[in-house]
């Protein structure tokens, strides 16, 4: 059986949505009894939709959140386009003040960091895994590099093609520079609001381009990085 009448398709669709009335359920059951192949295909479709639902579960879960939860998510969502620089990120406890991002025109969906590099070994493992490039860091007692997924920098949209940005925020005791590591066929310069007074420094580590954005005259983190 390769054809399915519209009437039966309607029943199948309702069944997959879980919206069948008892009568409709009985009618579909009769149709499937008459055609074991229809039953097989319905079951296959149901399995496929279960898998789709599971794969998109985080998006689905988000939609079902309570208003309070939604508000909390909104509070975590940071949107800004290069305002003031000063902010205070001091702790490396995984909780980054929202204000830390507002100065950069950066945007984060998930507040939980996916990567924390606080030893040279972790940083080396990160760069080797993500970039296929051995970049080492000597930040003994210095900055800690923390990375998020779902993070986009303001330069990202127009250059989305061909770019694999991975953003790490360097947490330091003093001013907080941002370090962007990425592999790219091109080498776009991040866009910064000229009024911000921020400075950018670039360094190449094999196939990895690193930009440091900092209020300092000199790069703070880049000198600590080298190619392993």
């Amino acid at each position: 059986m390769n054809e399915i009448p519209d009437r039966v398709l309607e029943l199948v669709s309702k069944h997959l949505d879980g919206d069948c009335t008892p009568d409709e359920r009985a009618a579909l059951e009769r149709a499937m009894e008459e055609s074991p192949e229809l039953r097989t295909r319905v079951e296959r479709a149901a399995a496929a939709e279960r898998e789709i639902r599971a794969s998109l579960a985080p998006a689905g879960a988000h939609a079902k959140r309570s208003p309070g939860r939604q508000f909390a998510v909104a509070a975590m969502l940071v949107l800004a386009v290069c305002a003031a620089w000063w902010f205070g990120v001091r702790a490396n406890d995984g909780s980054v003040p929202v204000s830390a991002w507002e100065a950069h025109g950066l945007f984060v969906i998930d507040r939980e960091p996916q990567i924390v590099c606080d030893t040279p070994e972790k940083f080396l493992a990160y760069t080797t895994d993500k970039f296929d490039e051995r970049v080492t860091a000597d930040f003994d007692g210095g900055p800690v590099l923390v990375g998020w997924r779902g993070l986009g920098a303001s330069y990202g949209a127009g250059d989305a093609a061909g770019i694999e940005p991975r953003l790490l925020l360097a947490l330091t005791e003093g001013d907080t520079p941002v370090v962007v590591l990425f592999q790219s066929a091109r080498d776009p310069r991040p866009e910064l609001d000229p009024r911000s007074g921020l400075r950018m420094f670039k360094q190449q580590f094999g196939g990895v381009t690193a930009w440091e954005i900092t209020p300092e005259e000199n790069a703070v983190v880049l000198p600590l990085l080298s190619r392993g």
Binding site: M1, N2, E3, I4, P5, D6, L9, E10, V12, S13, L16, D17, R41, V42, R44, A45, A48, E49, E51, I52, R53, S55, L56, P58, A59, G60, H62, A63, Q70, V73, A74, L77, L79, A80, V81, F107, I109, Q114, T128, D129, K130, F131, D132, E133, R149, G150, L151, G152, A153, S154, G156, A157, G158, A160, A161, G162, I163, E164, A185
Partner: protein, 171 residues
């Protein structure tokens, strides 16, 4: 629209936008595409007309960014393939196409979705993943509820590998 209003509207639409991005760019890039789209939208906030459909406006941007991402990804895969030809047996993780956080549609599901039209894919995923009503699907995709329903039915027919009576191929 202020940035605060954008933030609120974006948060409300986020799940739907991720699903739309997954329909266009694939599952693993979906969140990144939506993030990029938000950056684009912020830069174009002035062009958003107050009172118009925010979800549909964002959906347009998501599709645009997804399209760029897909093209870029295709080029990147081509580069990787060329590179792999030069270095047979190369299997290091960093040389593989990006997989985001590792969530992908499976090898069974992706071909099913690939055979659908973009509109069918979007409507089906919004219906299945988020249990959206046809009115909600219509609102975010900018089509009528009846068309959204028709897309879902046709998508399901194709996923089942079946055709309408008298047709060998359901368009």
């Amino acid at each position: 629209m202020s940035v605060a209003e954008f933030e609120s509207a974006f948060t409300s639409s986020y799940s739907s936008l991720v699903v739309l991005a997954a329909a266009s760019a694939g599952r693993s890039d979906a969140e990144d595409v939506v993030s990029e789209a938000a950056v684009v939208a912020l830069k174009k906030l002035d062009s958003f007309e107050a009172g118009s459909n925010f979800g549909a406006w964002m959906a347009t941007i998501v599709r645009y960014v997804a399209s760029n991402t897909t093209r870029g990804e295709r080029r990147r895969r081509q580069r990787i393939r060329r590179f792999a030809l030069l270095r047979p047996g190369m299997t290091r993780a960093g040389a593989s196409p990006p997989t985001g956080d590792g969530r992908e549609f499976s090898r069974e599901i992706q071909p099913m979705l690939d055979q659908l039209s973009p509109a069918q894919r979007e409507c089906l995923l919004l219906r299945v993943a988020l249990s959206h009503s046809y009115e909600e699907i219509a609102s975010i995709t900018g089509i009528s509820p009846a068309t959204a329903r028709s897309h879902v039915l046709r998508a399901r027919r194709r996923v089942m590998g079946m055709s309408a009576p008298g047709r060998s191929h359901d368009e």
